[in-house]
Every structure is written in C-alpha cells, then in structure tokens.
C-alpha cells in the first residue's frame, strides 16, 4: 500500500500536480532518500516513453482521419475505394498511363492504316470482295509511276473515247473469240492488246452479269487468227491442292503468278467458282487460271479484301454454259469451237508461258462521249 501511495506521489510530482508546499516536501524527500530519487528518475523516463507512444498513436489516428476526410472531399485521390483494392485494380492503376499511351498509339495506327486502305482501295463490289478489274485512274497512276506516258496516238480507241476500266482476257477460239469478266467491260466498246503491245479492235458479243462472264470478238484486219490454241478448256476434274498459274495484266505488261487450288467452292459457298491461293491484283480480272498441264480451269474474278491471298476464280465450266446458252440465239456464237486438247502437257513452265502468252490479252474498255 505504501508503494502505491509513493508511486502516485511521484506521478503527481512529475505531472506538476502538487501544491507548492507538498512539492517542496517531496523534493526534500528526494534529496534525502536516494532510493526515491532513483524511482523518480526511472519513472520519469518511463512516463516520457509512454507519453510519446500516446502522442504518436493519437497523431497516427489524426492522420488516418485526415486521409479519409480528404479522400471523401476529393482533395486527394486513390483511384478507387480506400486501401482494400484488388490486385487487378492496383495493376490497372499502376499501368494505366502505359496502357493509355499504348491504346492511343494503337488507335492512331489503326486509323492511319484504315485511312490508307480506304484511300487506295478501289471501289469494291461489297466490303469483303474486291473485283480485280482496274479502273482507269489506276492505269494512269501506273503509267505516271513508270515515268513514261504511253502515247495514245496510234491507239485504236476512238479519239472521243474515254477509258473506263481494264482487265485481262484470253482466247477461247483461234478466230478471235475472247473471254473476260463482265465487270471488266464497264463501257460501250473495247480494245484488246496482246503481250507484245499490239492493239486490236474488239466488239462485245455478250455480257452475262449473272455469271460475271463476257465474250469479245476481235474484229481487226491486222489480227491473224490462230489455227489452234495451245491450251484446252477443262470442264471438270480439278483437285484440291493442285498447282495453278495465271497470266494477266495488273499493269501494262503481262504478269505471271502461281499458286494452288484452295477450295472447290467460291465466296460463301458459291459452287460456280473456286477459291485459289495466289497473288492477284486489280487488272488480273478475266485472266485465265491454268493447271500445271496448261489446261484452263477458271477465270480470275475477285478476291477477298479481309484475307491475303484469297482469290476467287469462275469455273471454266461456266464458259461452256454461257456459250451453249448463246448458241441458239446468236449465229456468231455458233462458230465458236472451244479447244479440247492441250499441247502443253509435260513442258517446262517457261515454255508453257511462251506458248500461252500470245493468247492472253489486255482489255481496255472505253465509253464513247
């Protein structure tokens, strides 16, 4: 009990809770009793420590309060609810700047690319399919790019004729009958140019928009009919994976390309065409697709815009169908005799091309003003 009173006295003394008289008495006691003096010093230190801890705790509490108060007011910001945030949120907060930068770059790039694509791609039949005929604007661009403007002085296009589109065509009869795509002939007349640059006048015999095929006839005194064509036109017997090649005019000169048979149906299951994989460009439309024996198996018509190397070719059977249909009504068509046998089998590709290239023509369609 004594000790309790003593300790209480010490605490009162240290906390300035003593009256002057009592204080003087206590100080006297301290001087005379070393044990009490020691207790006072020790307790002072202890009280100081515990006092500091108390202050410290109070301050921490105040700081927490301040923090949540300011957070509520919106003066400070933690990107979400206080403290107990999920890892994802924390990661998001940490990387949101980087993410924002990356997203903007991606956005700008995407817009630039789509802008470029929209600018350079020709008007397509629909968003996914692109016709491979060339509008004449592109021809002009290509000519300019070559730096040599092709003179149209000796052209067989009438002087008041305006070029509208161009594509490729090939002979189906040595007498001068050609097949091309209907969409290539966006005009009232056409001239054809062979691989050596020789131009011939041609008339449009028939355009069948449904099958996207058209028949032309060269009517030109300079044209020397072929006694026979080197290739045949196959009606059937195509296998998946078969090696294919094509010749056409994506530019002013004849261009060779090769690929393979990808699918026996065309765009969205169209049974009148094939899907082939090769590189084709605007201007290839109407060009023949040969198998490795040099038989014509199809006519290049369009490609899928959303995928690379997906080109559609109309089955060569379609030519037979069209010719047969027209035979009854048109006497000119009756004269067409389609080549049934190929003389190219077993030949090297370069030799095959030499034989075939004279039969593949550049078609230039024009409108007379």
């Amino acid at each position: 009990m004594e000790d309790i009173l003593l300790l209480e006295a010490i605490e009162r003394y240290l906390n300035d809770g003593m009256l002057e008289e009592e204080r003087a008495y206590f100080e006297q006691l301290r001087k005379n009793t070393p044990e009490i003096d020691q207790m006072v010093v020790e307790h002072k230190l202890f009280l100081h420590q515990i006092e500091a801890l108390s202050e410290h705790k109070n301050l921490r509490h105040s700081l927490h309060e301040s923090h949540s108060r300011l957070l509520d007011k919106g003066d400070i910001f933690e990107g979400g609810e206080i403290s107990t945030k999920g890892l994802v949120v924390q990661l998001w907060n940490r990387y949101k700047r980087v993410t924002a930068i990356a997203a903007s770059i991606a956005g700008i790039t995407a817009m630039a690319i789509s802008g470029l694509v929209a600018y350079f791609s020709p008007a397509a039949k629909n968003s996914q399919i692109e016709l491979l005929s060339r509008t004449i604007k592109q021809v002009v661009i290509n000519q300019n790019a070559l730096g040599a403007k092709i003179k149209e002085v000796d052209s067989k296009i009438p002087p008041n004729g305006e070029l509208t589109s161009s594509g490729s065509a090939f002979l189906i009869d040595g007498k001068g009958y050609l097949v091309t795509n209907a969409h290539v002939l966006q005009g009232s007349g056409a001239v054809v140019v062979n691989s050596k640059g020789q131009e011939y006048n041609a008339t449009i015999i028939n355009i069948d928009k449904a099958s996207d095929l058209a028949i032309l006839k060269i009517r030109d005194s300079e044209f020397e009919p072929f006694t026979s064509l080197p290739y045949s036109i196959k009606k059937s017997g195509i296998d998946l994976g078969e090696e294919l090649f094509t010749l056409g005019y994506p530019r002013e000169s004849i261009v060779y390309n090769m690929g393979y048979m990808s699918a026996l149906t065309g765009y969205k299951g169209d049974s009148s065409s094939y899907q082939i994989s090769l590189s084709a460009n605007p201007g290839n439309s109407g060009g023949p697709v040969f198998n490795k024996n040099g038989d014509v198996i199809g006519i290049i018509s369009n490609r899928e815009t959303s995928a690379e190397g997906v080109v559609f070719a109309i089955k060569s059977k379609g030519i037979y169908k069209l010719v047969d249909e027209l035979r009854d009504s048109d006497t000119a068509i009756q004269k067409i005799k389609m080549p049934a046998s190929s003389s190219l089998k077993g030949m090297a590709r370069t030799e095959q091309i030499k034989e075939v290239e004279d039969c593949v023509f550049l078609v230039k369609a024009y409108n007379q003003k």
Binding site: L7, L45, L63, F77
Partner: protein
Amino acid sequence: MKQEINEQILLRGLVNNDSKAIDAIYKENFNMVQAFILNNNGTYDDARDVFQEAMITLYEKAKSESFVLTCQIKTYVYSVCRRLWLKKLQQKGRFVAQSDGLEETVSVDEDLEIHEKRNADFVIMERAMSSLGEPCKSLLEAYYINKKGMTEISAEFGYTNADNAKNQKYKCLMRLKKLFFTQYNIGD
C-alpha cells in the same frame, strides 16, 4: 515572408494535433508524394504509409525544442518520403535509378535516424504492453494512452471503486515497467 509565417502556424497546429492544420499540410503535400511513389513501383497504400511516416517525422522535428525550419514543409516532407521509399525499395531488392528529380531535397538522414530509434522504442513498449495480457493491457492503455480518469476507468472495467482500480493499475504498472526496462537500454 508570409508563407514562412503560415508554415510556422501550420507546424504549431500539427504539434497540437489540430485537425485543420493536419488537413492543410496533408492536402498541400500528399499528391506530390503519391505521384512519386506510384511512379517508383509503389501502390496507393505504400504512398499513404510513407507519407504518414513523414508527417510523424515532421511532427517530432517540430516538437523538439531546438527546432528550426530551414526549408519549406514541402521540401522537407518530400525529402523524407523519398529517403524512406528508396530505402524500402532497396530492402525489397529492387534497384532504382537514384537520379534526383526536379524536386529540391534536403538531407534528412539525421532526423530519420532519430525517428527510427523512436519507432524502435515504441515497438519495445507496445510489445511489453501486449505481453502483459488482459485486463492489464487495456487498463494501462486507458490510463496512459487514452488519458482516461481513474473513476471513468473503474466504471468501464467494472471495479467497485476507483481505489480497487488504482490498486490493479499499480500492479500492472509494476509488471509493465519491469518488462519494459529489461528490453530498454538507456543510452543505447
């Protein structure tokens, strides 16, 4: 000049645990520190902890009699936070470029040393307290930390009178002092 006076007022407020002053200092400085921590692999929680630690250091400094404010509060707080955070990153084994930012810094190593020593003392005290067990711990906390009166405490803890509570407090205090002084080395 005016700013200096303002800062003196704020610091006095901080020492007196005045919530308005704390809010003002907090608002003025927290966002800068948060940005620094977040840009250096820290989280929002890290930012809050580090900033509050710096506020406590500032409080201790402002409280000491020899205190002289040699720089702006902003500079001081930023310097402490920077030092604390870089230290923490080093402990985690992450190495960061120690390049100084655009912010001005002052040397705070001495203050932080004192602060750390103080924190260590608090740890000793708190550990001693928690090893006391109940009801001693709560009783002493109520009296010494929360500054409650003996009558209030005796009512709260269910003692029949304040003297009994005092008696109990005395016993607890003796045990606590013993525990504390076996850990705490004076002058160490």
